[in-house]
Every structure is written in structure tokens, then in C-alpha cells.
Symmetry: C2
Subunit: 204 residues, 2 copies
Amino acid sequence: METVKRTRMSPEERRAQLIDLGARMLAERPLEQISVEEIADQAGVSRGLLFHYFATKHDYHLAIVQHAGAEMLARTEPDQTLPPLEILRSSVVAYLDYVSDNRNSYVSLLRGAASGDPEMREEFDRTRSALAARIIDQLPRLGIEPDDRIALAVRGWLAFVEETAISWLREPVISRGELIDLIVTALPAVTLPASVAAALLSQG
Amino acid sequence: METVKRTRMSPEERRAQLIDLGARMLAERPLEQISVEEIADQAGVSRGLLFHYFATKHDYHLAIVQHAGAEMLARTEPDQTLPPLEILRSSVVAYLDYVSDNRNSYVSLLRGAASGDPEMREEFDRTRSALAARIIDQLPRLGIEPDDRIALAVRGWLAFVEETAISWLREPVISRGELIDLIVTALPAVTLPASVAAALLSQG
């Protein structure tokens, strides 16, 4: 008779454990290849129990993506004790650390099959909106009063950041420091009149 | 007995006609809903003949997307008789005209199910690379010598353009003129040092 080690966990703990196992597996392979059988095995639970927490495989995958988005937001949380431009720089550094640590999953989520799934895209957009809201909240500290034009420019800047980061992960044609400078200076550059951006960055 | 009007066409003409019918249908509905039966009916040919030109429905859809990309490139072709910043502006205006004329298909291709398909994504990337190459070719006329950092910034700027255009099509929070200004000034702003961008943009 086989002995399967089972750990007694509360439903919340079990759910969190299953998501955590999936998030770790996501670092090594695309979402599409995360099988509920393997996860259930690793957790020492039955496939049926996993489906008790997540109605479908797709729901389980969504929960993993939600977890990855929350982790990225947590890791890039602005450090309010720094001067304004340094807050931006430190968040960009944290973002590049995050995407470098998770390069395969990050690229495959945003540029792979998952990007064609409406619910996954909604999940990515929720993370982007949270990032945009966070940046817009910081702008007054840089002397920038947010309006509709600036809010749109911030969304565009986030697309700029994703695209340059993903291109750079695939082919690092410039140094990490150069990429950080490119991304940091681009935010005032696209939101402010050029002369104001120049003055701000020269203080910087 | 039914009479189906058949037009005699060369294979090249027939192929072009089928793609053209698909491209028109794409203006009205997402790619996934373009049925080969309807297209064959409209062309007055059999479904079998359509599959003689395109091995699969997917191949037919790819040909439509290729056609749409080529049309966008043709419509945004730079007018070399203008001063450099005006070349950029007129291409941005042509691009916004194109995406406004094709808003449904543009948004659904780049943000819908098609974006999850590897061959479709390759097709979109080919169009983006052609746009990027075209811009990089123009930069020396603006006094900008392209290098790896600038090439990466141009790719990022194209993502900025797509994102702001798609957000704006969904919710036009600023005027068309403001969007054009935002996009045009962003290119020197992200490629050049801020002080150089300021000087260039103040020349107009």
C-alpha cells in the first residue's frame, strides 16, 4: 500500500499552496503546460480536490496569473521615502528585476497564447491599470497635474516599457543601466512639454 | 436550375479577389467570424476552389491579415517632399485615419483572439518591423544617428502609438489633434536627450 504524505491545511492555506505551486511552475514553462495532475501530485492531493478549489483548469490558470500580477505589483511598490524621480527609478529597477527573474513566464504570458484569451487579457489589463493609477498618483510630486491627455500618455508609456523590456530580454542589445535610463527618462518625456521635461531631468 | 454568375479570372486575380473580399468583411466583423462559405458565395466560386488557393481557413485568414498590414504600410508611406518633422506628422495622421477607418478590425486583431496565434503575431511583428525600419531610415534627416538604444526606443514608441491609439478609439478622452501631437512629440522625446528633443520640437 502506498503512503501519500498529506498535510492538514485550512481551505485558504490549501488554495494558496496550489496557486503558489503553479506560480513556481510558471517560472519554468508556459502556462498552457501547467497540468493540474502534476500540481495535485506535488501538493499530495487528489485531482478532485484541486477542482474543488478551481472549477476548471482555466480558472486555475487565471488564479496563477492573478497571483503573478499581484507579486509584480508588490515588488514594484514605490518607496515613498525617496525623492520623486528616484521613486520612479527604483520602481523601474524592481520591475526589470521581476521580469528578469521571470523572463520565460513574463514573455510567454504577454506575447504567447495566453494573450489571445479574453479573461487573461482582462487580468493583464487590471495589473496595467493598477500600475497606471500608481504612477498618476505620484505625478503631482513631480509637479505634473494629471489630466486625460497625461493619463493616456501614461498607458502608452507602460506599453513602451513592456515592449522595450521584452525586446531587451530576447536580445539585450544595450546594457541594463542604459535600458533603465531609457525607460525612466521616457516617462516625463512623453507626459510633459519637451522644455519642462528637459528642466526636470537636468535637476534629476 | 440555378444560375451562378461566374467571372473568368486568372489565378492571380482570383486569389486577389478572395483576399479583397475577406479584407472588406474584416472591416465589419472579427477575423474569427469570416467564413470561407460566405466568401466563396460572394465570389461566386465553390468552397473547394477557395481551398485550392488557401490550404486551410487559417491560411486564408493569414492572407487577409498580410493584406491589411500591407495596406497600412502603403497608406502611411512617408511623403519625402515634406520637412522631416512634417513627414512624421503626416504619417501619424495617415495611421490614425487608417485605424479610424478600420477600428473594429484593428482593435480585434491586435487585442483579440488573433493576438494569441503565433503566425498572426509574426505577421503583426513583420508590419511593426517594417514601420520601425522606415522610421529609423528617416532619423538622420532629423539629425539623429540611429544606434541600438534608439532602435529599441523606436520599437517602444510603436507600442506607445498602438496603445494610445487603441485606448483612444475605445474612449476618445482627448481630441484627435491632441492625440496627433502626443504621438508626434513622443518620438523625439523618447529617442533623444531631453534638451535636444526640446530644441528640435521648438524649431517646429
